[in-house]
């Protein structure tokens, strides 16, 4: 038993020195390495967590915004459709009204034309009558001028009529 520690070289001063070395290493590394690195690791994990949370928030926000936009688009599209429908309806109405008016106007025109024609015809007839009367009077005068028989009478009328026609023609 006396031999063993000697052969292995167990030596109290060396042992104590190595313990002291180790403790010094521990203390220095604690300040030089562990504390800053732990702080850095903590900060980094905190940052990663924060940025992930932030990303999640942004994602949610953008989803919300997208939903909003979608809704707005939908509303706009609906409104547009409505407006188009309304415009079409209005157009229809305008068209109908225009048609109706046109028809009315045409009717009025026709009516007026008819009246005018009627008038003119009446006028013409009355003129013819008047002229005829005149001619009759003329013819009658001629007849009176000459004593005529029935046949002559007729001839005269015809002649007068013919004359009046030719007269009219001139």
């Amino acid at each position: 038993m006396e031999e063993l520690p000697l052969k292995l070289g167990i030596n109290l001063p060396v042992l104590i020195t190595q313990v002291v070395t180790f403790v010094i290493l521990l203390v220095i590394l604690r300040f030089v390495a562990y504390k800053p690195i732990m702080r850095m690791l903590d900060e980094r994990s905190k940052r990663v967590k924060d940025s992930m949370e932030q990303a999640e928030a942004v994602r949610q926000q953008s989803a919300r915004a997208e939903e909003e936009v979608r809704k707005q688009l939908e509303a706009a599209s609906r409104e547009g459709q409505e407006r188009i429908a309304r415009a079409v309806r209005a157009g229809e109405e305008v068209k109908q009204k225009a048609e109706e008016e046109a028809r009315k106007e045409a009717d009025a025109l026709v009516k007026r034309a008819r009246t005018a024609i009627q008038q003119e015809r009446d006028d013409a007839i009355s003129e013819v009558r008047r002229e005829f009367a005149d001619l009759t009077v003329l013819a009658a005068g001629k007849v009176i001028e000459r004593s005529l028989d029935k046949e002559q009478h007729r001839d005269i009328i015809e002649k007068v009529l013919e004359e009046s026609i030719t007269h009219k023609k001139d």
Binding site: V23, V32, A33, Y34
Partner: protein, 362 residues
């Protein structure tokens, strides 16, 4: 699209370069073999210049004392320990001097290593305790690891200091006959070590060659020191966390004496006394195992490291240069494993020490 030009050659070299490398490598293998212990014995006729011949290794366990500093003996393993200390402190300082949130290469590597150990601590000891134990566990890991790895650097164990001392009168002097390139010379055995005798100023003195630096782990004092520290660490946190409860695990006399006391009050219960006795016995065993841990810690590391060093020495002696290379790789691995075992066992023991046994039982 044009086909990429096919590169001729192999292993990233063109063929002539590859052939030269292979020839040089084979030359080194052959010369190494001839210069080594096996080659010298197999082909004694081949004589090589003496600087090629590797001397026979003489491994010895105790670390030699190189000199005294303020009365403190300085051994080569202490120097190696200090070297590791300086190395680690410089690395730590260089890394943390300018810490950046987005790390550079060195910082990332260092952070990766430390972060890995920190995660191990947390996974074994829990979040809060892991943070408390991390510095000690990590220091043990780094110290053991770099003691082992730095001792693989050339110069460890090969740079020698030479002292001349007078021959002790009771020492036995023997004469070694001339062999090979070696002329006849006298040697003297002191403390199981062979020293050559040389003449200085017409006086015969013994030449004491000692390695300047030697892997700190290969001196039994270093593993013992770390094991001792680990023991104190475990006991400190056990006492701090559980107080007397921690001691009760080892000196578990309470139930025994209580049952004895009940016997005097007339309630005799054999089972109680028996289980009290068992409790004392188990506590004693636990107490014993605590010290056995220190020994097992010490000799696991010491044995592995010393065996590794001797293995390298022998490999370098038998077939120098080439044969030692695979063993260097092996030693890297073993150093890492030993560091991990040492630190993780400490972590497990301290975690056990702060976990109340009675809590576990309920």
């Amino acid at each position: 699209m044009t086909e990429p030009r096919k590169r001729s050659g192999c292993l990233g070299c063109s063929f002539p370069v590859l052939i030269i490398i292979v020839v040089v490598f084979l030359g080194i293998v052959v010369i190494g073999f001839l210069a080594g212990g096996i080659g010298q014995k197999m082909f004694p006729g081949v004589s090589l210049p003496s600087w090629l011949i590797v001397p026979r290794p003489e491994p010895h366990l105790p670390a030699p004392q190189l000199f005294h500093l303020f009365g403190l003996p300085i051994t080569n393993s202490m120097l190696a320990g200090w070297l590791t200390l300086v190395f680690l402190v410089v690395i730590g300082w260089a890394v943390t001097r300018r810490m950046k949130l987005i790390p550079g290469r060195l910082q990332a590597a260092f952070e990766f290593l430390l972060g890995w150990i920190y995660d191990l601590c947390k996974s074994i000891a829990g979040e809060e305790n892991g943070r408390r134990f991390f510095p000690v566990v990590c220091t043990i890991f780094l110290f053991v690891l770099f003691n082992a790895w730095l001792s693989l650097i050339p110069g460890f164990g090969s740079i020698e200091t030479i002292k001349y001392e007078g021959i002790p009168p009771e020492a036995q002097i023997s004469v070694v006959p001339a062999e090979g390139n070696q002329p006849e010379h006298k040697v003297v055995m002191v403390d199981d070590k062979e020293h050559e005798i040389v003449l200085i100023n017409g006086e015969e003195v013994m030449e004491i060659k000692e390695e300047l630096i030697r892997g700190a782990n290969t001196d039994v004092n270093t593993p013992l020191a770390i094991a001792f520290f680990s023991f104190v660490f475990v006991a400190f946190f056990g006492l701090k966390t559980l107080g007397m409860g921690w001691l009760k695990q080892y000196f578990n006399f309470g139930p025994f004496f209580r049952s004895i006391g009940r016997t005097f009050k007339g309630k005799f219960n054999l089972m109680d006394i028996f289980s009290g006795g068992i409790g004392i016995f188990v506590g004693g065993l636990e107490f014993l195992s605590m010290f056995i841990r220190v020994i097992s810690f010490t000799f696991r590391l010491f044995g592995n490291m010393t065996a590794g060093e001797i293995l390298l020495l022998i490999a370098a002696f038998l077939v120098p240069w080439v044969m030692a290379l695979p063993f260097y790789g092996l030693e890297l691995l073993i150093g890492f494993i030993q560091a991990l075992i040492f630190s993780l066992l400490t972590l497990v023991f301290v975690t056990m020490a702060v976990t109340s046994h009675s809590e576990e039982a309920h």
